[in-house]
Symmetry: C2
């Protein structure tokens, strides 16, 4: 009953956006924060480096004492101390003095440059230098990386390995992040069985969506729990009802078409509100979404490829943004390797193999052909106002890699 009039893609996406939820925050050890999203600004407690630091192994000295030194005209200085990483020298470097210094060690008072060990020779406390340095050379000045009190990262930043280091240097051993959403994935379908090497009896089909959609949820930073239920209204209703009390988001596969066995949207209608059912896209037209007990439910097709595309188009952004991470399709342009027909009034997400220059669509692309997703590394997206492209036209491409958490 719901599919008779299709929503446009933009209308459907807006309905999801209007119902976007944000997770609560939690404080976790920094150690566990890799690939989480900051729920606070990071304001540094320290300067980094905390002092003028040597960037080389060599000798701390006054730069002017090195001027004009060369291989043919070496100069001589007196070594008065040695300083390693983790120690301060209590000596002050005066005229004609030098202090042996290690990479990372604090530059002693009075010195304004470090001459690399490679350009020197030593004999007892006598240092012979064969090269000159300018003031500041080979010194990482105090606070050059981070100034105490500076906001070094903003709320909503995704924590890559680089940010891990910056947060540590700012003095945080715990960090406030957005919680991961708990997603309930409900697989519907009497015909579905677990993978087996045995011959399939009756009209059974192996449940592949369980594996693909679970993995896609993981690839969106979220946690997932799976149930498999039959097609009856009662079974599906019980599963969705229970999930709506315990989980942050519900996803289903199967039962979204319009035959009598397709009860999923009837259940959504019964338990809550349908936002839309049926969107002018290909593949994946029978996608639905709704709100039950204030939780978003996405109802994906049973067809494996349709379900994957629907997840990419509708659910990824929702899961990312629940965790405070901005998400937009990262669209780039490529030349069409082949002519691609399309239909006005429908947005196509065409599986493709793209490289630095070209996008070539996968020819065999029924919505049940998982192999077409395996051969692909990208979508070609054809807008509802376009009737397709000629070979050589510049077309919109989204790489699968750019969709991952």
């Amino acid at each position: 009953m719901f599919l008779s009039k299709l929503d446009s893609l933009n209308d459907a996406l807006k309905l999801i956006d209007d119902n976007q939820k944000l997770m609560d925050t939690e404080e976790i050890p920094l150690d566990k924060a890799h690939k989480r999203v900051l729920a606070e600004d990071i304001i540094s407690y320290h300067n980094s480096p905390p002092f003028d630091k040597s960037a080389m192994d060599g000798f701390a000295l006054k730069a002017e004492n090195t001027f004009n030194a060369s291989q043919s005209q070496p100069k001589t200085l007196k070594i008065i101390d040695m300083v390693g990483a983790g120690c301060f020298s209590d000596k002050s470097v005066g005229e004609g003095h030098a202090v042996i210094i290690a990479t990372g060690a604090p530059v002693p008072d009075g010195a304004d440059a470090v001459l690399m060990k490679e350009y020197t020779t030593t004999k007892d406390d006598e240092l012979t230098i064969y090269s000159q340095v300018t003031p500041g050379e080979n010194i990482s000045p105090k606070a050059e990386d981070i100034k105490k009190g500076d906001t070094v990262l903003s709320k909503n930043t995704f924590i890559r390995y680089q940010e891990m280091g910056l947060i540590a240097s700012a003095g945080y051993d715990t960090v406030k992040v957005f919680k991961k959403p708990n997603v309930k994935l409900i697989i519907t379908g009497n015909e579905l069985v677990e993978p087996t090497k045995d011959e399939l009896s009756d009209a059974k089909i192996i449940n592949s969506n369980k594996f693909t959609i679970k993995s896609m949820i993981e690839d969106s930073g979220a946690c997932v729990s799976i149930s498999h239920v039959g097609d009856s209204f009662k079974e599906v209703r019980n599963a969705i009802h229970d999930a709506s009390e315990e989980y942050d988001v519900i996803m289903t596969t199967g039962g979204t078409a319009i035959s009598d066995g397709d009860v999923v949207l009837d259940v959504v209608d019964d338990l809550g509100e349908i936002l839309f059912h049926g969107v002018a896209i290909r593949p994946g037209k029978p996608i639905g979404a709704g709100i039950i007990n204030d939780k978003m439910i996405f109802t994906f097709s049973g067809q494996p490829v349709a379900a994957m595309s629907q997840f990419d188009i509708f659910a990824r952004k929702y899961l990312f943004e629940m965790q405070g991470r901005k998400f937009d399709l990262s669209v780039t342009k490529r030349q069409a390797k082949l002519k691609i027909p399309s239909q006005l009034g429908r947005t196509d997400f065409i599986r493709a193999f793209s490289d630095d220059d070209y996008a070539r669509h996968i020819l065999n692309r029924g919505s049940g052909i998982i192999r077409s997703m395996v051969e692909a590394n990208s979508y070609i997206i054809i807008d509802e106002n376009d009737e397709g492209y000629q070979k050589g036209d510049l077309i919109n491409v989204v790489f699968f890699n750019s969709l991952l958490w």
Copy 2:
């Protein structure tokens, strides 16, 4: 002592490649195989779909019985059965017959097409059709995705969500993959302390490498365990010796320069063999690698940015290929936004922010400036034979995202 003559980057990479190890394999539940690497070919036990399957909700019938049907000239057929997903019909579709069929259900004998429900009306067992279909229309033929006995995925394939679905459909509930390497990360440095909000005493510095390098190891599919030891030969030797007995790979940070406190390479020399120490790259020149107890050891700098770059240049490929996953830097071309000087005889990995068209290098890029890695999303790579580039030149860029597992 080791740094006096620098290896070229290619020579150093070849030494690592010559010592590449491959992990053993293990059989794991398919459920856990996402983002692992296949250690066997996947040969399908099944056809998929296992029978001619309806791709739509509608009516299974003989296509020729629909020819010339239209809105103005409807035709009438007799409904003789109904078939849902998971069931076979025991009726045969004859002349003038139709069977109600759900998406995913097996097409009954005698039928050669499915007419979508949208183009029909029904009254009791009388079906009125307003559109025609061609033979095969709306049917996913048996084995169109996968043929029983076909090799659908090859050994060494990285298992994305798509491959998860394909492996399931092929009938595998367990799968043979390469084991994850266990990496021991040994942080050296008396001066390093854990992140703290308290003022740092003496010449202490916060240990950020622990967080960045650990996260990079995780981003390479491997497992990691961390120790922090002081700079003494004995401490470093004990830690590396023990690690070489228990772990698959060893990584260290700090102690790779040439001052007296830099003992890491001396330990490698003592316990095993140094492959190289000192490579003509920037940042990261003091990188070393060696073999101890038949295990690879990478000795990274203590400087945070140098350590990250060294990991990307030397260790990622090693960890990927230990797990059977091919890895090459994914180099693309961008226009230089600014002029970039470089030095002959040295390969530069310059932190940059790149978009679809341009690469702009980060100006403040001392090897201790973690912020430069945070502002960057890519490396500009300048070959040892290039003296730099002018604004507008096409240059080699590697996006950080392309390096991840």
